[in-house]
């Protein structure tokens, strides 16, 4: 279990995170949502150990994060970035093979075989011999997911965690669902997932719990059904929504209203002003 308690972070005199507490248990998917600049990425960077801990507590399975060396941390958690540009023409399978770096690399033939299996998992086996630099944005992301899976699934650690940083933003809808189904399937292997998600529908459909951030603080935390409410949308995004339900969907459906923006209100046009002016 990852335990986050009273976590705060300041950079350049600005308070980016303000005493955030939550827990991530192996086997669950927790979605982090919030407006741009709410601190989602900062939270992910601190919790994943990329940024140092400034204030508060952060522990992985009872061990404080400061006591875990980078390589050990890499055996317990993987991070899927928003985008991964690369200016050198590695083949897709070679990129995937790099995921095994924390475990020491095997002989090339074996690395290749494992990499191909991981590519299979993300439906990208046909890209294995293509140059990564020549892939489309969506293809790159799915290859990166295979690399991240290669890192996670190579690990013998008892509890493993996956962090996703808005990684589906550049994917088309069916690939977005493909990625989240794959991620959802990881939970049955005892992997805990913390995902920044921009699309509330994806969060609602695939997450067990949500954390809603606003201005660096935790606005709401809890089960999807309890937290994804029109009131929360107004507070977090300044957006008016309808909450709908569908017999097939056990999750709430939030759709924008006809006049969805809370503020600033569009100035009503008055013909009288024109006539007077």
């Amino acid at each position: 279990m990852i335990n986050v308690a009273q976590l705060s972070l300041s950079k350049g005199g600005r308070r980016l995170l303000d005493s955030i507490s939550f827990q991530l248990t192996p086997g669950e998917v927790v979605a982090v949502i919030g407006a741009n600049g709410a601190g989602k990425s900062s939270l992910l960077k601190v919790v994943s150990g990329e940024w140092g801990l400034q204030e508060g507590e952060l522990s992985y399975d009872g061990e404080p994060v400061q006591a875990i060396c980078k390589q050990d941390l890499a055996k317990r958690r993987a991070v899927m970035p928003q985008a991964s540009p690369m200016s050198f023409p590695f083949k897709a399978w070679e990129v995937v093979a790099l995921g095994r770096t924390p475990f020491g690399l095997n002989r090339p033939a074996r690395e290749r075989k494992t990499a191909l299996e991981r590519l299979e998992l993300t439906g990208t086996a046909h890209l294995a011999e293509r140059h990564y630099t020549a892939l489309s944005g969506g293809e790159k992301q799915r290859v990166q997911l295979a690399r991240v899976l290669n890192q996670l699934l190579s690990s013998q650690a008892k509890h493993r965690y996956l962090f996703l940083d808005e990684c589906t933003a550049s994917l088309d809808p069916s690939h977005q669902h493909q990625v989240f189904q794959r991620v959802r399937a990881l939970t049955s292997e005892g992997i805990g997932v913390l995902a920044i998600v921009h699309d509330i529908h994806l969060a609602a459909q695939y997450a067990d719990r949500v954390l809603i951030l606003k201005e660096g603080a935790l606005l709401e935390a809890g089960a999807v059904r309890d937290c994804l409410t029109p009131q929360a949308m107004v507070e977090a995004f300044a957006l008016h929504t309808h909450r709908l339900s569908h017999p097939e969907a056990e999750w709430p459906l939030l759709v924008a209203r006809k006049n969805p923006l809370v503020a600033p209100q569009p100035v009503p046009f008055k013909s009288a002003d024109v006539a007077a002016g």
């Binding site: 990329e50 890499a74 991964s84 690369m86 200016s87 050198f88 790099l98 770096t101 924390p102």
Partner: protein, 348 residues
């Protein structure tokens, strides 16, 4: 091309280069004599070699060839590592001003060694020159990296090249100032620093420079796995358990060792670090585990061949080897720039 075939090919090229470099020159040496000389340490009884041939081979040509091998290998490896670290195939220790930094520091020691820098000379003795070159190279590498980090998206080509232009211009100006203080002998060595030459390499030079270069020759291949990961960015490297700061520091120090030691004995030899990794990458792909060691091999072969040309083209006089590498590297660099520009347009 497979790695094995490529290695065999380069090995052959290197072997021929070694024999050619030892055999050709003002004093002709036959292959038979070369064979006898190369076996002289063995317990076999061999025909006696003319004394002057033994001296030419052992005291003049051999240290020169070995220095060429080491400088070529370490410059090429440094180029491969710097390109990986900057995630930019156009980076090169010479192009971004690192060699200039080293040469300027070396020049400062030569010209100011008996005045302002007397204390430095006294402290480091005969190591003052290579040590100064090392410090100069390290300083420039660090400055360039700090500048590259300021630009969003990491190391933009233009930023790097322009920073290199600025540093080259600045070090040129300071070198110009120093030449006003220099006497005739110092001026001659200034020409030598700026164009690079292996002509005056002795066993003593080799003894001073080789240990430092050996560190980089062993160190760079050990960084290969980490540099592969660094190609995906510093965040991803961190996620994969690699400390990017540590890798960066190590590449800087190894590069400064390679360039500093090379410059202190042979002056500025440009473009090796740019051209060689590029050719190897074209043949074998970007995996640093093959790229770095094989760049070393190709760099060694290239520099020995360049030195042969430098000796033969205007014989009995000699060209500075830096001129040869620049003649090869300049057009190659332009070609790379054009290719990168057109490819950039296609990708957008």
């Amino acid at each position: 091309m497979t790695t094995r075939l490529f290695t065999a090919l380069i090995g052959l090229l290197l072997a021929v280069a070694l024999m050619t470099a030892l055999a050709f020159g003002p004093v002709p040496v036959s292959l038979r004599e070369l064979g006898i000389w190369s076996m002289h340490w063995s317990p076999m009884t061999l025909p006696e070699l003319p004394r002057h041939i033994a001296i030419v081979l052992g005291d003049i040509r051999l240290p020169r060839v070995m220095m060429g091998l080491m400088i070529g290998a370490s410059l090429a490896m440094a180029g491969a590592a710097i390109q990986g670290l900057f995630r930019n195939p156009l980076a090169d220790p010479g192009l971004i001003g690192v060699s200039n930094g080293a040469a300027l520091a070396a020049l400062a020691v030569i010209v100011l060694g008996n005045s302002i820098l007397a204390g430095f000379m006294a402290t480091f003795g005969f190591l003052a020159l290579p040590f100064a070159a090392f410090l100069g190279a390290l300083l420039v590498t660090w400055v360039i990296y700090s500048i590259a980090k300021l630009t969003p998206g990491g190391s933009q080509v233009t930023t790097l090249i322009l920073a290199g232009v600025a540093i080259t211009a600045f070090s040129g100006a300071v070198s110009g100032l120093l030449t006003y203080l220099a006497d005739d002998a110092e001026l001659r060595s200034f020409t030598f620093w700026s164009m690079g030459s292996l002509a005056s390499v002795t066993w003593r030079d080799l003894a001073i420079a080789a240990p430092w270069m050996s560190i980089s020759l062993i160190g760079f291949p050990l960084m290969a796995g980490a540099l592969n990961v660094m190609l995906m960015g510093e965040s991803v490297a961190d996620h994969l358990g690699i400390n990017p700061d540590r890798i960066r520091r190590r590449v800087f120090v190894l590069t400064a060792l390679a360039v500093g030691a090379g410059v202190s004995v042979a002056g500025m030899i440009g473009f090796v670090g740019l051209v060689v990794p590029h050719l190897v990458r074209l043949a074998l792909g970007p995996d640093h585990r093959a790229l770095i060691p094989l760049s070393g091999l190709v760099g060694a072969a290239l520099l020995v061949w360049a030195d042969i040309l430098a000796r033969l083209l205007v014989a009995p006089a000699e060209l500075p080897i830096g001129i040869i590498t620049a003649l090869l590297g300049g057009p190659f660099f332009l070609y790379l720039l054009m290719r990168q520009t057109t490819e950039g347009i296609q990708h957008d």
